[in-house]
Amino acid sequence: MEVRRSAANQLVSIDCRCRFPLHCHFKTDSIAPMNASLFALALMDGVSYAALLFLVALGLTLIFGVMRILNIAHGSLYACGGYFAATLGLVITKFGLPPMLAFPALFVAALLMGVFLGTVLEFALLRRILDKDPILQLLVTFAAFMVLEDLQRMIWGVQPVFVSDVVTQMGTLSVAGVTYTRYQLLVLPAVAVLAFVGLRWFLAGTALGRQVTAVTHHREVATAMGVNTGRVTWLTLTVGGALGALGGALASPTTSFTPGIGAEMMVLSFAVVATGGLGQIGGAAIAALMIGLSRSFAVYLMPEIEVLVPYLIMVGVLLIRPEGLFSAAAARRI
């Protein structure tokens, strides 16, 4: 094995003289080391990616907090949210409605999809499995994911779908010689921050929010206290689902939606949720930032490990803090 370093002792490339008749793929780049402007760029890319990840993970962690079920079908909510948002965008163009509506249409799409799918999932499936083995609960959501994958394909077909008017409307701005879209740099993080702040206020400041917190803490005791847990669960599922769908809807102006796009986002949002602590909103935010930033820095510094980074972070955090970054205090049940 031959390792080459530059004059500044930077890792330039590693050549594996391998005995297998396959070519060597492991090469790092021979490029200038990170400087201030590249650092700023990596930071901005990471933040906008983290924002989207956070929105999706937020829904997932909320649902888990209240129902103690890891909703594998959450990835489908992301996908359906995105597809539906694209459909609405096409409708707007087709019927010649004012293009200004394109942006609010994204939120409308997310809300509608979240309410619809959330309600269906809640009443058809989740309500009936609350008393079952956790493994069975998990499998039911896995089954729902499979069903939704095919339904999605039947409704929207296999061709990549996208509508990008929203982004082009908002224009671009230039930072350190690099052009970013306003949408990516400003809108996405703004929505994420708003969601975070809004949810925190809701949970701590409103009566309904406090009921949600109560149910998260201990379902039975909350019921005994007179909280309508069924209604709270439904609300959480719709809000959580809407957040997942919002992630998809906000991604749709820049990403082409194809079959299978839900699965990818799902695994990543799991990593975020597990790292941050299940049911923890603050934890999800920090974990999303960690994963988003480390991914974008990896692309600049060591592209080879870019794919591994979210999982390495997850393993690292869980090894040090088994419950995730933040965890709710829970009494041990004897």
Binding site: H23, L138, A274, Y311
Partner: protein
Amino acid sequence: MRLRLLVVVLAVAVLALGLFFPWVKTPVLVALANGLAVSGVIVLIRAGQVSFGNAMFACLAGYGTAFMAREWQLDALLLIALSCVLAALAGAIIGFFIVRYRGIFFGMLNLALSMVLFSVLGKFGAVTGGTDGLRFDRPTLAFVHFEREGFETALLVLALVLSIGAGWVVQRYFASVSGQALAAIKTNETRLEYLGISAKRVFWGGYVLAATLCGLGGSLFALTQGLVTPEMGYWVRSGELVFVAILGGSGHALGAFIGAFVYEFMKLYAAALLTGAWQLVMGLVLIVMVFVAPKGVFGMIERHLRSRSKA
């Protein structure tokens, strides 16, 4: 006694099927390999834990088989044995720190580790063949050189023997002290500790067993296909293993194999007859199973056998 008879009958039926319909050997071998991996998963399920990363042991063993076949041209029996050792070792090392976790964190950590393995196998193509995987030529089996038909028949017989053996081992383990202690981890772990039994150690033993069984399945799968790819360790594969465990019935090793067969052929025929809607069908079947027969197909059989013996 009834159960043993059933096992023998099924084994003979499978062998006969394989001999009369040559094409059936491939899905049957795959089903047996999956069944072996699932029997590992049900060991973990007995402890009340679900791992979303057990496919990594199958994947590791598969790649081990491929490497050794390419480098040293070993006999298939040796390949299987050595790959199992590899999987057991990996299980022991990983299990050492993973048995601290329970519930969703256990599942997630296993998932993360399997995704790390998956990504590494895909990235470092010089050594691992990348996403196309590693191909290897048909090895000798029991030091006899076979053609494809003969090799598959011999492999089928070997797989049946191994499956029956594995099932017996798992059932004996369940009945043993360690197995009973493992089940106590699910019901009340704290009380287990009060009895003076280290829950971690018991769980570690179960984890290593599960890893070995998954490795056995993975090695068999590699030999059937002659090709290993990183897909063998993808998280969806692990999810499928859990799916099969529930479908077949996670209470008994036989359930693992029944589930594997039902799953394999159901997927095959769903894909053939309803091209484009097979995922829908599988998902619906799973939902129905969870509501109607949460103990799986084996649970239904057990109920039937018990009602017959009562009458």
